[in-house]
Every structure is written in structure tokens, then in C-alpha cells.
């Protein structure tokens, strides 16, 4: 048995039955990292030695009965834009290459409370800007299904590490699709929670009104378990919702007969790869077989989402990334004659091209004389998008779309064409614009053997319903049993 093939809920069973120890599990993952990381390149910082030591300590405490808890000792990987006290948090940027956070993100506090073990910090597009993880300053992460392809992004390291069984699950962050798209490209499950469900405190901000931390896991049940851990109101984040905490595993396995699924026709039109379309049509059939009611409808406003997204996200980013000024922490240029040069040189040398592109875009749309035409207009469209989704959720339990118009593309094929790269976000961004929860689950593979992802979008704070409908599909098609990444070179 390959321990790393197991989901976390399967590991939990084996631990309970004393078939596995924390130490066995940790060793299996460390061995897997030693075997696969050289090909996949998912980690920015590996914490194998620390994790091994922690596993021994936790095993000891469990043996002595000092700690209980079903997740004690379970490893996890963390996207490198989530602050970890005493451990580098680089955002895959030269700017923060040696930055060690003096505090833990709220989600890390929650992970630590469970005595879970951080196995490493995972690669990403620099400051989460990108859809292929090619914009990392450090390395290009490869897709475990085919090492010549990108893992998607920006949480490409997280998705690839889960897909390659180097971690059982991971945390990612999603501003316009950065959890769902790489999950789709790597054949794993990724959930972007409702805006406000998970605290953003300690997530290095890209676009504050869109960013959410979420789980990337092997299956829907693990996704629900991890969501249980990280969700909940946080006084340190005033945009986090003060609502009653739910147990997302509770309704997971319920029958979905009679559930209403809306299929917006705009997401199946031009630009969608035919094999992706076909796979989604099969998925729709599967849902029909499960007793769900499918209805096509129009989500007309969606066509404006991409432009809206890039204006709002870049505007907020241009302000959020101002703090990387070479004064207090992070990269500082070696030679400068005055303050202005200290700023311009440190930022020119510390940021990569894509980050600079978005800062410039964002600065432009906020400039006086352009604010009304761009930022204000974008906020108005944002309201319209929300209204349109609200209307749809009066009729439907969830909305079904492809996660990405294509499967994972070749490394280097789009990295010099920002506009084409931006178009890859077309299916996911409207979900962030509207602040809704969205999940990507594998629904098939194409002829080349690359996984295809299906996106389900739920109403605000209805992750329980969303996960239930996703779970039913997952059980029906048994993707993980039928397909495995085979590291094609």
C-alpha cells in the first residue's frame, strides 16, 4: 500500500485502527517528496526535517494521551503567500526571498491548534499573479500528469504537490481562480470559499476584496474536513463574516435527487475547447442520472466579468504592493543616491514583469481623470454581476461550468502573451467578483490524458450544499480510481 495514495479521511481511519502511526505517514510523505520533487518542483521551502521531528513529538504526545484530535500529526502544504511565523514567506518573489514573518496567519493558528504538521511552503505565481506558476521567481512547477505542462496557477505548487501525493492536502488562495484552475489542471479538488468565510489575516494581500484562502485536496470529503478547520469569524479581519460555524461534512453524503443545477450557456460558447465541452456534457448527463434537474440559462453579464476583474484586482494590487518599498523588510537595491532611487530601484529589481504590469495597470485605473471610467465603472458592473447571480440562485441550487476553457497548456506557450493568459481565467473570475463559493472537481481526461475540471458555483455561505452536490458526482464517476498522474517526461 502506498500511504500517500490515501485521502486524509482514509488516513484517519487507519490511525484509529492503529494500522498506521503519525511517524509512518510522515515518512511516506518525506520519501515521496524525495522521489518526486526533483521532477515536479512544487516547494519553495521544504520542511522535511522539522516535520519529521514534529511527527515524533506529536506521536509521543498521542501515545501519552496528552493530545487527541483527529487531525493531529496530519501533514499539510501551505501556499507561500500565507504567513508562517519563523518560516520564510516569499510569495515566490525576489522581493520577499528572505522574508520571515514575525506572526502566523489566522489559518496557520487554526492548523497549529489541530497539531497538523506543515511539510513545506508551496510555489506560486509571484504574489499570486498568474495562471501557470511560471511567474515564480524561483522555479517553474511542473504538472504531475505531464511534466511538460504547467500545473496552472497561481496555487500551482499546492495543486501539483497534492496531485503528486507529496502532501495529502494543501492551502491555496484564490483571487480570480487561483485555487480552482490549478486544481482542474492537476486533477484534484479545489474550493474557493465564499468571500468572508475564511479569515484573510496573514494572507499577503493581492486584491483584498477578492482574495480567499481555501483547501486543495484529493477529494471532496477532505475538502470539507479542511474547510471545517479554516473557516470561521476572525476579529482580526473585519471582512470575515460573523456567522454561525457549520460542519461541512454533515450533509456531504445526502441524496441530491431534485436538486436544481443551472448551466449558463455563455460559459460553453466560443473559446471553450471541444474536449472540455464534451466532458462537461457528460458530467451534465451524470447529474441527470443522479436525479438532479438541469436547466440551461443565460448569465449575460458574465462577459464583462473579466474586464471588471482585471480593473478591480489590479487597482487593489497597486495599492497593496506599495508596502514593498525596501524600507522595513524585503529586497532593497544595493546602490541608490536618494530616496526616490531607493524606491524605484528596489521595486524595479524586486518585482517580476507580471507584477509590475499589474501595478502599472492598477495605478492607471485609479489615476485622477480615469477613476470614473475604470474603477468606478468596474464597481458598478460588479454590483450587476452580483445581482445576476442572486437572481440565478433564486432558481438553482448550484451553477455548473467548466473550470477553465482548456486543459493544462505547455510550459512557455503563454507566458509571453499576458492577454491569452488572462483569458484562461474567464470561467472563474466572475465567482470572485460576486464573492461566491466555487469548487473545481475532476470530471474526465482529454485524449492526451490531461485532466479536465468542472466548476460548481454555490450561493453565498452555502458551501454545505455545494460540497454535497460535488460529492455525489465524485462518487458517481470515481475519477481517482480510474486515473492517476503518470509524470510523463
Amino acid at each position: 500500500m502506498d500511504i500517500t495514495e490515501l485521502t486524509v479521511h482514509e488516513l484517519q481511519e487507519k490511525i484509529e485502527k492503529k494500522e498506521l502511526t503519525i511517524k509512518d505517514i510522515m515518512q511516506a510523505y518525506i520519501d515521496k517528496i524525495d522521489e518526486k520533487e526533483k521532477d515536479v518542483q512544487a516547494f519553495v521551502t521544504e520542511l522535511k526535517d522539522e516535520a519529521k521531528k514534529q511527527a515524533e513529538e506529536i506521536q509521543d504526545k498521542i501515545d501519552k494521551g496528552e493530545i487527541k484530535g483527529k487531525l493531529a500529526g496530519i501533514p499539510i502544504g501551505i501556499k507561500d503567500n500565507i504567513c508562517t511565523k519563523g518560516i520564510k514567506t516569499t510569495c515566490s518573489s525576489h522581493m520577499l526571498e528572505n522574508f520571515i514573518s514575525p506572526y502566523n496567519a489566522t489559518v496557520m493558528e487554526k492548523i497549529n491548534e489541530q497539531n497538523m504538521i506543515n511539510l513545506g511552503k508551496l510555489n506560486m505565481d509571484e504574489f499570486a499573479m498568474g495562471g501557470s506558476t511560471e511567474y515564480s521567481y524561483f522555479k517553474k512547477t511542473k504538472n504531475p500528469w505531464n511534466l511538460n505542462k504547467v500545473p496552472g496557477g497561481s496555487s500551482g505548487g499546492s495543486a501539483a504537490a497534492v496531485s503528486a501525493n507529496m502532501v495529502p492536502w494543501a492551502l491555496g488562495s484564490d483571487t480570480g481562480g487561483s485555487i480552482r484552475q490549478p486544481a482542474s489542471f492537476c486533477g484534484v479538488v479545489g474550493l474557493k470559499p465564499t468571500y468572508g468565510l475564511v479569515s484573510r489575516y496573514g494572507l499577503v494581500a493581492f486584491a483584498s476584496s477578492l482574495d480567499q484562502i481555501g483547501p486543495i485536496a484529493k477529494d471532496v470529503e477532505d475538502t470539507a474536513i479542511l474547510l471545517n478547520i479554516i473557516s470561521g469569524h476572525d476579529k482580526k479581519d473585519t471582512t470575515s463574516a460573523n456567522i454561525e460555524k457549520k460542519d461541512y461534512t454533515l450533509n456531504l453524503k445526502k441524496d441530491i435527487k431534485g436538486k436544481k443545477i443551472g448551466v449558463p450557456k455563455e460559459f460553453f460558447g466560443e473559446g471553450i475547447n471541444l474536449e472540455v465541452k464534451e466532458s462537461l456534457e457528460n458530467a451534465i448527463q451524470t447529474y441527470k442520472n443522479l436525479g438532479a434537474e438541469i436547466e440551461e440559462f443565460s448569465l449575460d453579464i458574465a462577459q464583462y466579468s473579466l474586464a471588471t476583474y482585471y480593473i478591480i484586482a489590479c487597482a487593489e494590487a497597486s495599492s497593496n504592493l506599495g508596502r514593498f518599498d525596501g524600507i522595513r523588510y524585503g529586497y532593497r537595491a544595493k546602490d541608490f543616491k536618494n530616496l526616490k532611487e531607493l524606491y524605484t530601484k528596489s521595486r524595479s529589481e524586486g518585482f517580476g514583469a507580471e507584477v509590475k504590469r499589474r501595478i502599472i495597470l492598477g495605478t492607471y485605473v485609479l489615476s485622477s481623470g480615469y477613476y470614473d471610467a475604470y474603477y468606478k465603472k468596474a464597481q458598478q458592473v460588479r454590483t450587476l454581476v452580483m445581482n445576476e447571480f442572486n437572481k440565478a440562485f433564486e432558481k438553482y441550487d448550484v451553477i455548473l461550468t467548466p473550470t477553465s476553457p482548456t486543459v493544462a497548456f505547455d510550459i512557455g506557450s503563454k507566458s509571453n502573451n499576458p492577454l491569452e493568459m488572462y483569458l484562461a481565467d474567464i470561467c472563474t473570475v466572475s465567482v470572485n467578483i460576486a464573492g461566491l463559493p466555487g469548487i473545481s472537481i475532476p470530471c474526465g481526461i482529454d485524449k492526451q490524458g490531461m485532466p479536465i475540471g468542472m466548476q460548481l458555483v454555490g450561493n453565498k455561505f452555502e458551501e454545505d450544499k455545494l460540497l454535497n452536490i460535488a460529492y455525489a458526482f465524485e462518487q458517481a464517476i470515481q475519477f481517482r480510481k480510474n486515473y492517476k498522474p503518470n509524470f510523463i517526461k
Binding site: N81, L96, V204, T239, G322, R323, Y343, S367
Partner: protein, 477 residues
Amino acid sequence: MNDYEVIIGLEVHAELSTKTKIFCSCPTSFGAEPNTHTCPICMAMPGALPVLNEKVVEYAVKAGLATNCEISKNSKNDRKNYFYPDLPKSYQISQYDKPLCEHGYVEIDTKEGKKKIRLLRIHIEEDAGKLNHDEFAGGSLVDLNRAGVPLIEIVSEPDLRSSEEAEQYLKKLKSILEYIEVSDCKMQEGSLRADVNVSVRKKGDTKFGTRTEMKNMNSFRSIVRAIEYEANRQIDVLEDGGTIEQETRRWDEVSGKTFSMRDKEDAEDYRYFPEPDLVAIKLSDEYIENIRKNLPELPESRKERYLNEYHLSEKDSNIISSSKYLADLFEQATKICNNAKAVNNWIISDISRILNETETEPIEIPFDSNQLAKLVILIDKGVISSSIGKKVLVELFENPRDPEEIIKEKGWIQISDEGAIKEIVMKILEENPQSVSDYKAGKDKALGFLVGQAMKQTKGKANPKMLNEMFIEELKK
């Protein structure tokens, strides 16, 4: 010169006296070791998020209500973006198009009577840190203790027409903020400072002239001088056929001149946009009314009471009511000693003089109302003379303690024993035969000299009234 009218608008920044900063729980106290009142939030560590301190909203609403503003029930925070090392986030969280308070006014006294100075708005924002350019040869040092200290910015309409009016307005504002206890207004610590906008126009013109701005002024005297200099400079430029540039100018205290700092071309585009890390500020009617109900009595109302209840002069009522501390001192001391006139005199003359000489604020007066009242009582009872009283006051400033203790310790108790007084009188008469004959020759002044001599010999301790009577009695003999 007299053909011109000066137009002044002020943007006053007042640090709020909340215990903690506006977006984190670091203390706001002044004078700590650099960067010790900091945390990931006010140092702008990656990923840190602000949480609005509710006290800041409460204090700003208080200030708004005390200055007759409308309070906005739907307000929000905005980001003002610019780069400077004292601004760690590279943006200041402020308020742009939806300030907490709008459309207020403050009344000032002018030569032509009362005048309303309209307030455009009051908004909340965070202070920046401080740069130290002196202590480190290799460059400047950044101290972020002040970063995130809450401020309100009070923006006046361009209603002020002279440096005196500007000073009146500032004093009134300062006094109101002190009364409602939202700011300690210590100007030398920078907790009250103003950006001054000045323009001039020909009398009768309806259009405003081009204005210049002087930032971060923190003394009344500099503000008055700067306005006067800047108005004259602008008039000279116009009279010479020139035009005024819209620019920021720096006031130089030493030369008494203003210098161009940056012109409109360099004006920064702050790229304001709504702060996405904070939720909107929503206030209920009940919340606002509750603050209104609990507002303390304001200077205007106290002044009226001093005129009517205590029959103080207009001038004295103004001086005492202008400072909450003086007003409290006056009322509390009067309550104890029951001699409003005496307490008033002490405050207006000797206490004010000492404050002026030592350049201290009323709030720094070291003794309390109880001790001042005791002083008045001791004089009223004839235990000490009023000239000894002045010495006791100096003692109270230097080392505040019970006045009774002071006079015992110093041996300042008045000599009121008839036998003792007579002894002194006889001695002085014997020593000054010339004065005795002068008096008898009708020169009344000689009596004063004799009393003075007696006071001198007793170091001011003899009861002056008894001395006077005794001398007259003896000289009649």
C-alpha cells in the same frame, strides 16, 4: 494694501486621545523608545489587516456634534496612496467622499461681533510615523510609534478674513476639543497642527484668488505670522503685475518668510479608493443621540454662566471659559471657598502670568482646585496677607502641597497679635522721626512709607490692616 481682502481656510489635525491606535491595539502614548509601540499591523507587515477602533468613531462623532455638524450614518474609509518612509503601508487610511461629519460651524468673537466659521467636514484618519534625520550619519531613521495614532482632520470653509480671526478660530476649536476630552491638543507635541491655506483678492471681488498652502504648522504664533507674511507677499506679487502660483510653501520661523516647496505640477495624485480591508461605518440614530446627550457643557455655555451667575467681566469669562482646565479650576475652587471674585482674580492675574512666563498650558498646572481654594480661605481669614499669598502660589507651582503646610513650614503666618503689632509700630516710629513729622505736617504719603517699613521688617507677615490702624492711632497721639 487696504484694497485687498485676505481669505484663509484651515485644515486642523488633532490627535485623538484614545488609549490605543486607530487600527491596532498598540498604545498611543507619546515619548516612548522608537518602534516600541508597534506591531505587524502598524508596521505594515505583509498580510496584516486593520481593525477600526470604535472609540475613534465615537470621539470623531463627539467632535462633530460639538461643532454643530451633521453626522453621517453611512460612512467609509478610503486609501490615500503615496510613498514616504514614515508611511509604512504606502497608503494612509483616511476618508475621502464620505466623511463622518459635515456642514458644521464654530462661533468666534470678532471686532464686528460674533461670526460663524463654517466647517466643511471632519474625518478620521491615521497619523504617520516620524523620521529622524540627525541621529544616524548613514541616513535617516524611521520611528513608527506614531504610525496609526488616530487623527481627526477638521476642514474649515474659507471664511476667515484675518490672522486674528484665524487665531480666534484655532483657539476656539482647541478649547472645544479639550472640553469634550477627545484630544489633549498639546501643540508642542504635535497633537494639534494645521495646514493653512491663504489667498488674497481685491475687496468687492466675488471670485477667490489662487491659494497657497503651508503645511503642519504647530504654534498659534507661527500661524499668525505666516498668514501675515504670506498675505503681504501675495499682495506684493499682484501689485507688481505678477500671478500667484498654486503651491505648497514652507514657513521658516527664523527668517519669518515662506518659501516655495512644490508647485501644482508636482502635486501628487493620491489615487483615493475605498479601503477594501474595512467594512463600511454604519451608525444608528440611537448611537448618535446617545453621544449628543452625553456631551459635556461647552465653553460658550460656561461663559454665559460666568457672566450671569458669578458676575465676572466679559473679558474674564472669556479667558476662564476658553480652557476647560481653567474653567474647572475656577468652578471647583469657588465651590469650596465661596469667593468667586478672589478665585477669578488669582486665575486671571497671577496664575495666567506664571503660565505665560513659563510657557505652560493650563492643563499642566500642578496644583488642584482644593489647594487654590485653601489659599483664598487663608487670605479671607486673615491668616496670611495677599502678598504672602503670592509667595504661596509660587510654592504651589514649584512643589504643590497644602497651603497651610507651606505657611507653617516657611513661617509665613500673619502677625495679628495686637501687642506684637504695637511693638513693631513703636519701633518704626522711633526709627523714622522725619516721616512722623511729615505726616503731622499733612503729608499722608508718609503713612504708606511707615507701613511699608513695618512690612519689610516683618517680611510681609504683619497684618496690614492692623498696622494701618495702629499707625494712625499712634500718630494722632
